[in-house]
Symmetry: D2
Subunit: 157 residues, 4 copies
C-alpha cells in the first residue's frame, strides 16, 4: 500500500532535470519555442519559468495579451507536471482557469508553478504570473492535467 492508495497525495519527486525537461519539450512541442520560455528553477513540487513576451504578444497599450498569459500558465503547469511524471508527452490540460489581476508591463514574465496534487490520473497546479523584477501577482491560474495510463516502466505510481 502506498500513500496514494490511502487517499493522501504522494510527496512530489522529480523525474527529470531542468536540461532533460527543456530538451524533451523542444523535441515534442517545438511550437512552444515561439514563446521564448526557459526554466529558471526546478525543485520538488515547484517550478519557475521565464517567458520573454515579444511584440507578437502585445495588446493595444503595450500590455501582454490574455492568450500569451494563458500560454505561460499552461506551459508552466505542463513543465511542472512533466518534471514529476517523466517523458509522457500526452499529458493533456483538462481545465485552466485564469484570473487577470493587473496589467503587466511589457518585458519578461515569470510563471511560478506549484504542484498541489499529483494523483494517478490527475495533477492540479497553481500558477502565479509576475512581471520580472516585481513581487505583484498579475495573473493567477489553476490548471488540471489528465495523466495517461500508459506511463513508462519503473514509475510505479
Amino acid at each position: 500500500m502506498n500513500m496514494d492508495q490511502m487517499g493522501s497525495p504522494r510527496a512530489p519527486q522529480l523525474f527529470m532535470s531542468t536540461t532533460e525537461l527543456s530538451r524533451y519539450v523542444q523535441k515534442v512541442f517545438p511550437q512552444a519555442e515561439s514563446y521564448g520560455w526557459s526554466v529558471r528553477d526546478l525543485a520538488p513540487g515547484n517550478i519557475t519559468v521565464v517567458m520573454n513576451a515579444g511584440d507578437d504578444h502585445l495588446r493595444p497599450g503595450g500590455t501582454v495579451s490574455g492568450p500569451t498569459m494563458f500560454a505561460l500558465a499552461d506551459i508552466t503547469a505542463y513543465l511542472l507536471v512533466l518534471a514529476h511524471i517523466g517523458e509522457v508527452a500526452l499529458a493533456v490540460t483538462t481545465n485552466l482557469s485564469i484570473n487577470f489581476l493587473s496589467k503587466p508591463k511589457p518585458g519578461a514574465l515569470i510563471g511560478q508553478g506549484r504542484l498541489l496534487k499529483l494523483g494517478k490520473r490527475l495533477a492540479v497546479c497553481e500558477i502565479h504570473i509576475l512581471s520580472a523584477g516585481s513581487e505583484t501577482v498579475i495573473a493567477q491560474a489553476t490548471a488540471t492535467y489528465s495523466i495517461p495510463p500508459d506511463r513508462p516502466a519503473g514509475m510505479d505510481n
Copy 2:
C-alpha cells in the same frame, strides 16, 4: 427604477451591428486579426464567431493548441459583450475558465457565446467551441468581463 436596480438582469439588447462590431475591433485590436475570426451570427444575448485555425495554431498531432482555443473563447466573449454595451474598448477579461473536452480537428472552429449576465459592472458569458460542421462541444469556457464606469452617453444602464 430599472430591472438592474431590482437585482434582475436586463434583457440583453444589441448596441452594434455585425459590421460595426467587426470594424471597431479591427480598429482598436488589430492583433486579433491574426486569428482570422469573423462574426457569423449576432442576436440579442448570443453570438457565433468563426475562426480559421491556421498552421501557426497547431499542436503536435495536428490539433489546435490550447492558447488558440483560449483566444477564440476570449474573442467570442469580448465581441458578445461589446455588441451589448457599445464602443468601450477597455472592457477587460477578469476571469476565463476553459474545459478542454476533446481534440479538435484542424480547420475552422466555431465559438458560440451566450450572455448569462450583463450587469453595470460585470458581464458573464458561456462559450461553446465546436469544429465547423460538428455538433460536439470540444471546449467549454466561462468568461467574466469588467465593464468600465465611463460608458458612452445615452447608455443609461
Copy 3:
C-alpha cells in the same frame, strides 16, 4: 475501436430511470435529503432537479445562501453523471466553479444540468440554476467528476 478511443465523446445514454436514480441516492447519500431535492426530468444528456430551499439555507435579506446553491449545482451534476454511468457511488467531484449572477428569491430552485463530456475517466457538466417559474439564470456552474475505474460489468465504456 469505439468512439471514445477515436477522441470523440460517446453519445450519452441513460443507465438508470428517475426512480432508480432517486432510490439509489437516498440509499448511498442520505444526507442529501436535507436539501429536499427531486428529479423533475431526465433525458439523455440532460437533467432537471428541483430543490426546496428551506429556512436553513437562507442568507441575510432572505436570499438563498451560496453553499446551498453550490449544493444544488453539485447534486444536479452528480445525479446527471450517475444516471449515465449506473450505480457507481464513488464518482467524486474534482472541480466545481460557480458564478453567482443575481440574487434568487426564496422558494424552490431549479437546477438544469447538461452533460458536455462523458469520457472513461472524466465527466464534465454545465449547470444553470433558476428560481422556479423564472427564465433568468441566477447562477451558472461547471462541474468535473472523476469516474472510478471499477465500473459494473457490462458497461464497457
Copy 4:
C-alpha cells in the same frame, strides 16, 4: 494619483481586528455560526480560519462534504476581504472555483486565505484548505468578490 489608478494593486492594509471582524460577522450573518468557524490568524493580505466540521457536514464514509468545504472557502475569503475593506456587509461572491484534491479526515479544517488583488470593484483570493495538524492541501479555491461602491467614508480607494 494612487497606486490603483496606475494599474498596480494597493498594498493590503487591515481595517478590522480579529475581534471586530468576528463580532461583525456574527451580527450580520448569524447563520454562518452553524459552521463553527473562528479566526485563528489575521495579517495584512492573509487570514487563517478554523472550522469544526460536525456530524451535519459529513458524507458517506465519514469525510467532510463538498458544500461544507465550499462554505469554508467562502467564509475564509469573505472574512479576508471584510478585514481589508471594513464593515461592508454587502460584498458578494461573484465566482468561487474549488478543486477537491484529497479526502479530508473528519475533524477541524483550516482555511488559509491569501488576498491576491484588492481593487476598487473586485477582490480576488486564493484559499487552501487543510485538515488540522496536516500540511497537505485537501482543497484549493479561488474566490472573486464584488465590492459595493458605497463604502464607508474615509476609505478613499
